[in-house]
């Protein structure tokens, strides 16, 4: 085998090989996709400063599974490719650093089952599953806060999919502005992609929304109602928050046929409409205990077809 400068010398010592074999455990990490946000804007943190924040809507029908096989050589090999999975590769390196294994490399395999080009947050999903896989390979358990910090470092801005409980998350700084100590209430969602050609926003290139003072203030009532909605586990309140957040952000990343979608939601008796604030998916939110649920969802799918959105998916969040 050809030797490159910087690679580890061949291992001869039997004890060393043995140690390596013991340590070589395949780490596995998974992470569900998300479907944009229920709320995104600017919020007051505990110090009274204003910071960008969001509340992620998970999309549990799609996942990334990452597998990481550590090797004593410092190179990192990524499948499908390092170019396609640039942020995940960076996340693997950062996790190795964080766990004080700077010198190690490995093989990182990523399997993402979400449909390509839908902007279902596949980069954070890849990044989080990668961090989990690398940590798992060394039997290290990282807290959600630690995962969040590494994720933000790896991709500049990340959603809050690593948290099990609902949180208001500072996506560019990687900390929780407010934790709600419980999951989102159960919600049924009919989702669709408003722009199949949209590949998601490159956070590095797209300037963040520039909110005026009154837009920033308008996020405060939404945050208040969100908190009440999570506390009461009431999807109706969450739906109102999501709809208004979508409305306030429409001018920054417009969704096609937005007014029609809002009207559709109202007419069929959905609880609200949510959007991906840096993607192209939109979801119509329903209350799962509504006894007209199936009929309403069917109506939504038919009406969306009329609006020019032929393909819908259905998913559910929250415990039943």
């Amino acid at each position: 085998m050809e030797r490159h400068p910087g690679t580890a010398p061949p291992i001869n010592d039997e004890a060393q090989i043995e140690e390596m074999l013991i340590e070589t455990v395949l780490g596995v990490g998974t992470c569900e996709a998300h479907h944009g946000e229920l709320l995104q804007g600017m919020f007051y943190n505990n110090n009274g400063d204003i910071t960008r924040g969001l509340v992620t809507l998970p999309c549990p029908i799609f996942h990334t599974t990452a597998k990481f096989l550590p090797t004593p050589q410092p190179e990192l090999h990524v499948l499908p490719s390092k170019i396609a999975k640039r942020k995940a590769a960076r996340a693997a390196e950062l996790t190795l650093e964080f766990t004080q294994r700077q010198g190690s490399g490995g093989l990182l395999f990523l399997g993402n089952d979400s449909p390509e080009g839908w902007g279902l947050g596949s980069s954070t999903t890849d990044v989080v599953s990668t961090i989990r896989a690398v940590a798992d390979a060394f039997s290290i358990s990282l807290s959600s806060d630690e995962v969040a910090r590494i994720a933000v470092k790896a991709e500049v801005a990340s959603d809050s999919i690593m948290y099990a409980d609902a949180v208001l998350f500072a996506q560019r700084e990687g900390y929780v502005i407010e934790s709600y100590d419980r999951e989102l209430p159960p919600m049924e969602i009919v989702g669709f992609n408003t722009d199949p050609t949209f590949a998601g926003i490159d956070t590095l290139l797209h300037p963040p929304a520039n909110y005026s003072w009154d837009e920033i203030e308008a996020f405060r009532p939404l945050r208040g109602l969100l908190k009440r909605g999570i506390f009461d586990q009431d999807p109706n309140l969450i739906g109102k928050v999501a709809t208004e957040s979508a409305r306030l952000n429409q001018k920054f990343l417009p969704k096609p046929r937005f007014a029609d979608i809002l009207q559709l939601g109202e007419e069929i008796g959905a609880v609200g409409v949510q959007v991906a604030h840096s993607g192209s998916v939109v979801g119509i939110i329903f209350d799962p205990v509504d006894n007209q649920l199936t009929r309403k969802m069917a109506k939504a799918v038919a009406a969306l077809r009329q609006l020019g959105f032929p393909a819908c998916h259905r998913f559910r969040v929250g415990a039943i």
Binding site: W213, A218, R220, P221, R223, G224, L225, R228, L237
Partner: protein, 339 residues
């Protein structure tokens, strides 16, 4: 997880209301001193936009807003000049002066405004909060709407006394972002011009106005109540009697209107603003002799408002009008007056 916190200043501690249930479907949002909210917000925004670099502020006031500005300005070392029209309670002028504000008493509100304009044309760095025309007055109430929604979810009705209209219209606007059906009920002073009556001098401070502020958005308002000074005082004593709360006269007036509204709408939830304690503005609600001498004492309150169908309809007692989100112009007050 939310833990209890220690506030860094009495101002910070006053920026959010405490919610107190007065009846099954009526909740009071009580404030330590509500005007600290717009005063703080307007100054902070001016700091952010670098409109306060010179640190000099001027405002005209006859009461609470000037006092609130004086409190915030003192904490932040700003130089504050307050121009007050004649007739402002001397105890308030003393409080303003005690906080380091330069207080000047002028003839009337118009002279105060002329003076501000003259001084600002000479000194461009003089910052004028202008509570009656600054959208950041109403804009400052987002945190109040947040607190209401967090504590109660959506409510059906918001009731409050109006001076600039900032608190009622600001909070109402933010609440309606997530609940378009919210009913907004304004409580005005008899003899105030805010909802189309003609001006009568000698109103109690706080509630009502002798000039028309642009911060009052008439088209947000569903219903208006007018309350006389003696009724407001009596209602404030009733609030004390029933709930042990010693709030100001505008709280009293709002209590009167909101108790009536809540009893008429048992299936709806209402929030009413109590902006200030009685200690701040009036020597006492309970100085019976003084109040009797001024013809401001009442023993009993009417149980119902008098229903009127036009702002100019004569009435010298608590009255109610279905305003129906109309503009002020739509009532054709000028024509009405000339007929």
């Amino acid at each position: 997880m939310v833990t209890r916190v220690v506030h860094n200043s009495p101002i910070e501690a006053s920026l959010l209301p405490t919610f107190i249930r007065l009846a099954k479907n009526l909740v009071a949002a009580t404030f330590g001193f509500m005007k600290l909210i717009p005063a703080t917000f307007i100054l902070e925004q001016a700091e952010k936009d670098e409109r306060l670099k010179a640190g000099k502020i001027i405002e005209t006031t006859s009461g609470p807003f000037g006092l609130a500005l004086a409190i915030v300005a003192a904490q932040r070392n700003y130089s504050l000049t307050l121009l007050c029209p004649k007739g402002v309670d001397p105890a308030i002028l003393e409080q303003m002066a005690n906080l380091g504000a330069k207080v000047e008493v002028l003839l009337d509100q118009q002279e105060c405004i002329d003076q501000i304009q003259a001084r600002r044309s000479k000194d461009r760095e003089l910052f004028w909060p202008s509570q009656y025309h600054n959208p950041q007055n109403s804009g400052s109430y987002a945190g109040v709407a947040e607190a209401i929604l967090e504590a109660m979810g959506n409510v059906d009705c918001l009731i409050g006394a109006v001076g600039s209209g900032g608190s009622l219209c600001g909070t109402g606007k933010y609440l309606r972002l997530v609940g378009q059906d919210l009913r907004v009920v304004a409580v005005d002073a008899m003899g105030s011009v805010l909802f189309g009556k003609s001006s009568v001098p000698g109103r109690l401070p706080g509630m009502g106005n002798g000039v028309m502020p642009t911060t009052l958005e008439h088209r947000m308002v569903d219903e208006v109540h007018w309350v006389t000074s003696s009724e407001a005082l009596c209602a404030a004593r009733r609030l004390h009697k029933f709930h042990g709360m010693c709030m100001g006269t505008s709280s009293g007036a709002a209590f009167l209107a909101s108790s009536w509204w809540a009893s008429k709408n048992p299936d709806k939830t209402a929030v009413v603003f109590f902006p200030d304690h009685s200690s701040r503005l009036f020597t006492s609600l309970f100085c019976k002799e003084t109040l009797q001498a001024a013809d401001l004492w009442l023993d009993e309150l009417p149980s119902e408002p008098k229903e009127i169908s036009h702002p100019r309809e004569e009435s010298n007692r608590w009255s109610r009008l279905e305003w129906a989100r109309r503009s002020l112009n739509s009532w054709e007050l000028a024509r009405e007056a000339s007929e």
